[in-house]
Homo-oligomer: 131 residues x 4
């Protein structure tokens, strides 16, 4: 499975009064990570949308193992998998930079749609990445 790595730092805005990163932000980091994944394979999600193909999320899941705190540097390992001609799944594993313990892990499932929201086939370039 093609895999890429994204690094990011926990922002103050992303913490909550428990002193840790608020749980919804992991889904934002997953989005940053899959943008990097696509960019790594030679194009961008921005170009894909410009080309009329959208990738809305149809399912998201996250398991939280250890808290992440303000200013922590995190590593998100992202791998992608073609589920069908119209569906794509990304898996994410978040660790603290320089450590192996898992902070969180999860996945998102996506269905390709046209600008009107109708299902459509993923572009050939996406198929090539997973070939």
């Amino acid at each position: 499975m093609p895999t890429t790595t994204t690094r990011l730092r926990v922002r103050y805005a992303e913490t909550d009064q428990m002193g840790v990163a608020y749980y919804a932000n992991y889904l934002v980091w997953f989005e940053v990570a899959r943008t990097d994944f696509l960019r790594h394979f030679g194009w961008t999600y921005r170009e894909m949308e410009a080309g009329g193909v959208f990738l809305p999320v149809i399912e998201a899941h996250c398991e939280y193992r250890r808290p992440a705190r303000y200013d922590d540097e995190l590593v998100v390992e992202t791998s992608g998998r073609l589920v069908s001609k119209v569906r794509l799944t990304f898996e994410y594993v978040v660790t603290m930079a320089g450590q192996t313990d898992v902070v969180a892990s999860g996945y998102t499932a996506h269905a390709a749609t046209d600008p009107a929201g109708k299902p459509c086939r993923l572009p050939a370039r996406v198929h090539e990445v997973f070939a």
Copy 2:
């Protein structure tokens, strides 16, 4: 299962360039809904934290069926379930106000901890709600 209802309106801030509510915001709405759930049963998550018991999320899941748009009024139906003496699960169903079609549904699982992050028993008041 005890169940409560929360109403909220999609904020402009919560939309993205696809013209729909960004997927991570559903987890924020789930949080608003479970705060209401606890309040409905006579106390608040705020009091619970003041009493030294925290409810960090250990797992979150959401399935997205239909897009929600800016200014849409949404209804979140929330039900809670005691999984063990230290674990609690909430389930959420999001619909458009006045409609029955599901916009999204999901759950969050929580483990009670003390201020140091160590697992602890849920307060007796929580047990009573689910008795």
Copy 3:
């Protein structure tokens, strides 16, 4: 000056590790408050955008006096003022529900544009509100 009132509760997601509402969220609350302002006068910002007029923010300002905390109920008093045929300003005063001490106050300035981002005149209905 036409004035409206909006009530909202501080979400857990909106707190930070200082235990108070994170400062950028006040701009989100200002947006919720001006959406209510427009709705109060018989139509909605949603309709305005559907009609091809956008109101991007060209300036935002906020002064923070007292912290707001999780689950606090806040009141935002919003007043609007027409600055020219294309410009509009909103002023906001945030207080804790049932109290008069100011939590924060600020303003946003807006310029009407068409869907392509070119300046355009505010709709007649907007002018009527401020007549």
Copy 4:
């Protein structure tokens, strides 16, 4: 005036249905930029809070000139200025990477407080940066 530079990319989560970065996110980017500013001068805001000094925002201002879009790479130039023994101001200029046109500019004012929220003197290390 000491000045530092921060680079960041607009996240999908940060866009709104107008297709541009939502205005409140600029305050988040300002926070990321001042965290970098402090780090650049040999310590971190995280250490400062651990040492019992907090820097809550007492005023924030932003002027928006040109829209920023998803995946745009932005540069934030940040300069800091000591206003008194307890007050600090940061100024920010946001441009598109590789361009000189200003996307947005603004400032934040901060007052040093102890963990109880009482005003306190800025640490000697902060004074040295601005000496």
